[in-house]
């Protein structure tokens, strides 16, 4: 660990301050091809093979905007409740770096593709709306590799495969007031973007990268304090660590009579600290100007409507509907909408079964448990939603008992077969036939005189034991409701 000079301020001092946080999140779009050429975006290809004159920035090559990138950006914008601009414009962001072969990034500046959105987060049970300032499109740079080669002490290697990969940058309003809120915001953002399938948001592959603008002020102060931009927050854990450190650093600085400098700071995951990278005076002047190689991007109402019509139902809307239509608890709704795939699965199971509530319990209980123990995703579930719905209905109709259902479910999960197929093959039908049940109940009554006496003496709880005996005798195939009724009748 580093020899930090920062003395963390005590909690009562920290409590006097309010952190103000805004995030800038870069998201790699899940397109097949790059944003301005036809090269594939596949990860892990040998260095400098997924390239062409356009993404290499060779003299004379020109960008052509990919339709799929625009549509993904629109989907993201709609998921974030943004207004999509009818006309937006690309701009060049000029800077020198070896992995930036054109010497500029094609981004959007004064006219981003979308703006004025919001995302709702819930922290400690309190809902809060975080504003989205803008969403803009841009191309990614290549990758500089500083380590791992024999001559890495003298050379940096450059891999341009990533060059031209489509990104969107999502800029939030400075609406977050704690690292927990920032964490919740990034979590919800990731959830939404995965939900509408614009990005895998795989942070390890760099598909989701985050920078934060942080300042602190005394509670009630009318203006924001001076902000620092903290870069390299590339995991949820690092985001929280970096913010907590940076907030404490700024408070300590102010408390000791100093003042926060406007600067860019880099988070170091090894030390958990942020360190100055460049001051305001050394901030890049990117010399933005409109990209002359691309016409303004015009998104007609027709195009927008078509993309909108292809959007899945958004999580908030779906949660409300699940609550209303399926009568499940708020908490269960949260669980069942935690991913798009899970909610789609549940939706199918619930809509096909007579008992949506029970379907929810099956999904959250047995199914998720079984999937988890096998390390499988919901999309890989051997039990289809339709089959699960059938199982639920077999219970509801009294054809099988809950206990038998659990056994059947295990077999369904193992084989992928339907409940009906398993029941038919193994002859596992619930015994509702009163003649057969009659005999079993009589037998149990005859064999357990002591318990029968107790019941008759007023100890009605013993009924459960007797029901269990009948069930045991029937190898689980008796209908517990029918057994209950029969026993009561015979013992009364």
């Amino acid at each position: 660990m580093s020899s930090s000079t920062l003395v963390l301020p005590p909690p009562e001092v920290v409590a006097k301050y309010e952190p103000v946080i805004g995030l800038e999140v870069h998201v790699q779009l899940a397109t097949q091809t790059k944003i301005f050429c036809g090269c594939p975006t596949s990860f892990g290809a040998p260095p400098n093979t997924n390239v062409c004159p356009v993404c290499l920035g060779l003299p004379g090559a020109l960008p052509v905007l990919s339709r799929q990138s625009v549509e993904m950006a629109i989907r993201a914008a709609l998921a974030l409740n943004c207004q999509v601009r009818p006309v937006s414009r690309f701009a060049r962001k000029n800077y020198f770096y070896p992995d930036l072969p054109k010497g500029y990034q094609i981004s959007q500046y004064d006219q981003p593709v979308a703006e004025n959105g919001s995302v709702e987060i819930v922290v400690d049970g309190n809902a809060k709306r975080i504003g989205i300032t803008r969403v803009h499109m841009e191309d990614d740079a290549g990758k500089s590799i500083h380590e791992g080669f024999r001559d890495s002490d003298r050379y940096t290697y450059v891999d341009l495969n990533r060059c031209g990969t489509p990104l969107i940058e999502i800029v939030s309003e400075p609406d977050m007031r704690s690292s927990e809120e920032a964490h919740a915001f990034l979590t919800e953002l990731k959830h939404l973007l995965q939900w509408v399938e614009v990005s895998t948001c795989d942070m390890e592959k760099g598909h989701l990268r985050c920078d934060a603008n942080v300042s602190v002020r005394r509670h009630g102060a009318p203006q924001f304090g001076t902000k620092a931009e903290v870069k390299n927050l590339n995991s949820f854990r690092f985001l929280k660590m970096a913010l907590d450190y940076e907030i404490a650093r700024q408070i300590a600085l102010i408390e000791s009579g100093g003042s926060v400098e406007q600067e860019t700071r880099l988070f170091n995951p090894d030390t958990g600290e942020t360190a100055g990278m460049r001051s305001k005076e050394h901030a890049h002047d990117y010399r933005y100007f409109p990209e002359p190689d691309l016409a303004p991007l015009r998104i007609s109402q027709d195009w927008l409507s078509r993309v909108e019509s292809e959007m899945p139902e958004l999580p908030n809307r779906r949660r409300e509907r699940f609550l209303a239509e399926y009568g499940i608890r708020e908490y269960d709704v949260q669980v069942l909408t935690s991913t798009r795939a899970l909610s789609d699965y549940y939706e199918e199971a619930a809509s096909k079964s007579r008992d949506p509530k029970a379907a929810g319990n099956w999904v959250m209980g047995d199914l998720m448990g079984a999937l988890k123990s096998e390390g499988k995703e919901i999309s890989e579930s051997p039990v289809s939603a339709a089959n699960l719905a059938e199982l639920v209905d077999l219970i509801a109709s009294g054809e099988i008992s809950g206990r038998l259902a659990k056994e059947i479910f295990q077999k369904m999960f193992a084989t992928g077969e339907s409940a009906r197929a398993i029941i038919d093959r193994e002859g596992l039908r619930q015994v509702s036939d009163t003649g057969v049940l009659d005999r079993m109940v009589d037998e149990v009554i005859a064999n357990h005189p002591k318990q029968v006496d107790q019941y008759k003496g007023g100890k009605t709880t013993v009924l459960g034991f007797l029901i269990g005996q009948v069930m045991k005798a029937s190898k689980g195939q008796a209908n517990p409701g029918a057994v209950n009724e029969l026993l009561r009748k015979k013992l009364s």
Binding site: P59, G60, N94, R287, Y288, F289
Partner: protein
């Protein structure tokens, strides 16, 4: 056959009649060009192998009885800012001295598909920045008409190649006059088409919103035929136009009687008398052809030089950033990355490029953008509107190309402002994106060629060629 005066039609006729084969013509053209080159330095390198292969394909086509294509067997020179697969493309710069592109420009693909033969790459001002060809890292080009004079720039090599007869036609590029001014200086036809008419894919960018690819030829019809091949939408260039491409050489034959020609008074106000007289004589010829000549005004002309040099330098500063020593084989090492950049670019770029990179970086800087770049864009809109207003009243505009004929080598190299002003009459058309051309209209007493500039509305190339063709026919100056 006199190779130095061949026209496209003569080449095609000769091939069809089997007077010569494409390979024979190509061989002869290459030999002639190589023999002539020391006089002018018009070519930077020859693409003999590629040319002979293309010629063999043309001959095979003829043997099979196929159509030889509108440029079948025609020896063509291409400015060295237009990339050619496997053929060195230096842009007149030390920084690309060894650069061999892995792909062809759309213009090059189209001319070869039409049967054209790429014989070599022509000299030019470094990255097409200059008006005299003296900023080339590989030495200036000499004007074939007067060897102590410049051929104009930046497409000086292409103009000289066509003028000296080593190529039947040539490709140039024009950002602020780089085709028209050398055409005027060398006494050939040079065309800057409508912006978006010809794909820029593969044209090394100088100022992207102003860059054009266009033809040089010894007569209007050849220029029209070459443009016919080059023009049209290219999916690889988002700024290329969908507008249909007329058959320019065929459409040329319609008359020009009753065509209304505007003379912008701002262009004649300070024009030196010798050039002015030649242009006005040309205008007189247009009158005799039945054109109606009108006095018009393009009121924002005075702001064109300032506007142009802000926009073009801004875009150039960005377009030239990629030559940083990381790629393209030329590198001057340094202790740090920044040092390497500085050393490479310091040693690699010539004065004119450095001047424009600095100007462009400045005008885009934080705090200056609104005052310079944004303002210049507004002025550009006003200049474009001037032309739109004028074309409400007239069908075409006649104007000078340059205030003076070809100047002496070295005459203006120490005075960039003077050099910039030699493009004063060509910048406006570039900024407006309208089609413009230079057509020879006579010679000064010293025997130096002077071109007359003709301009029409956007995508009005057919009208422009018709007017230029009629003028050429009527003009006694044309051999």
């Amino acid at each position: 056959m006199n190779i130095a005066t061949l026209t496209i039609d003569q080449v095609r006729e000769g091939l069809k009649k089997r007077a010569f084969s494409a390979v024979e013509l190509t061989r002869e053209a290459l030999e002639f060009a190589q023999a002539e080159n020391p006089k002018t330095n018009a070519y930077l390198h020859f693409s003999s192998e590629r040319a002979l292969e293309a010629a063999a394909r043309v001959d095979e086509g003829i043997a099979r009885g196929e159509d030889i294509g509108p440029l079948g067997g025609v020896p063509i020179a291409v400015k060295d800012v237009i990339v050619t697969k496997g053929v060195r493309t230096t842009c007149g710069s030390k920084l690309l001295a060894e650069y061999v592109p892995p792909y062809d420009a759309t213009a090059v693909i189209r001319l070869e598909e039409a049967g054209g033969i790429l014989i070599g790459k022509t000299n030019c001002d470094e990255f097409a920045m200059g008006s005299s060809n003296e900023s080339s890292a590989f030495g200036p080009v000499r004007n074939p008409v007067a060897p102590d004079r410049v051929p104009g720039g930046s497409s000086g090599g292409s103009a000289a190649a066509v003028a000296q007869g080593t190529a039947v036609v040539a490709l140039g590029s024009d950002t602020g006059g780089s085709i028209r001014q050398p055409a005027s200086f060398c006494g050939v036809v040079g065309v800057t088409p409508t912006y978006g008419r010809v794909s820029r894919y593969g044209l090394t960018a100088f100022a992207s919103s102003l860059d054009h690819v266009g033809p040089f030829a010894r007569n209007v019809k050849d220029a029209a035929a070459l443009l016919r091949v080059l023009a049209g939408r290219d999916p690889l260039d988002s700024t290329s136009a969908f507008a249909p491409v007329p058959d320019y050489p065929v459409d040329m034959d319609g008359g020009v009687e009753g065509m209304k020609i505007g003379l912008p008074r701002e262009y004649f106000k300070d024009l030196p008398s010798e050039t002015g007289d030649l242009i006005l004589r040309g205008v007189e010829t247009l009158k005799q052809l039945g054109c109606e000549v009108r006095d018009i005004s393009l009121p924002h002309t005075a702001y064109a030089v300032g506007c142009y040099y802000i926009i073009c330098t801004a875009e150039a500063s960005s377009n030239l950033a990629r030559y940083d020593g990381v790629r393209y084989t030329v590198r001057t090492p340094g202790d740090t990355l920044i040092d390497m950049y500085r050393n490479t670019r310091g040693a690699g770029f010539g004065l004119e490029c450095k001047r424009r990179i600095m100007l462009g970086t400045y005008v885009l800087s934080a705090g200056y953008y609104d005052a310079y770049y944004l303002k210049a864009q507004k002025v550009r809109t006003l200049i474009t509107r001037d032309f739109a207003d004028a074309f409400e009243r007239v069908d075409a505009i006649a104007a000078p190309v340059s205030p003076s004929p070809a100047f002496r080598l070295g005459e203006k190299t120490d005075d960039p402002m003077e050099m910039y002003l030699s493009d004063i009459y060509t910048l406006t058309g570039s900024l407006a994106g309208i089609p413009c051309m230079s057509v020879p209209c006579g010679k000064t007493v010293e025997g130096l060629p002077v071109g007359m500039q003709l301009m029409t509305r956007h995508f009005g190339e057919a009208d422009m060629f018709r007017l230029a063709g009629a003028y050429e026919k009527a003009s006694s100056f044309f051999a």
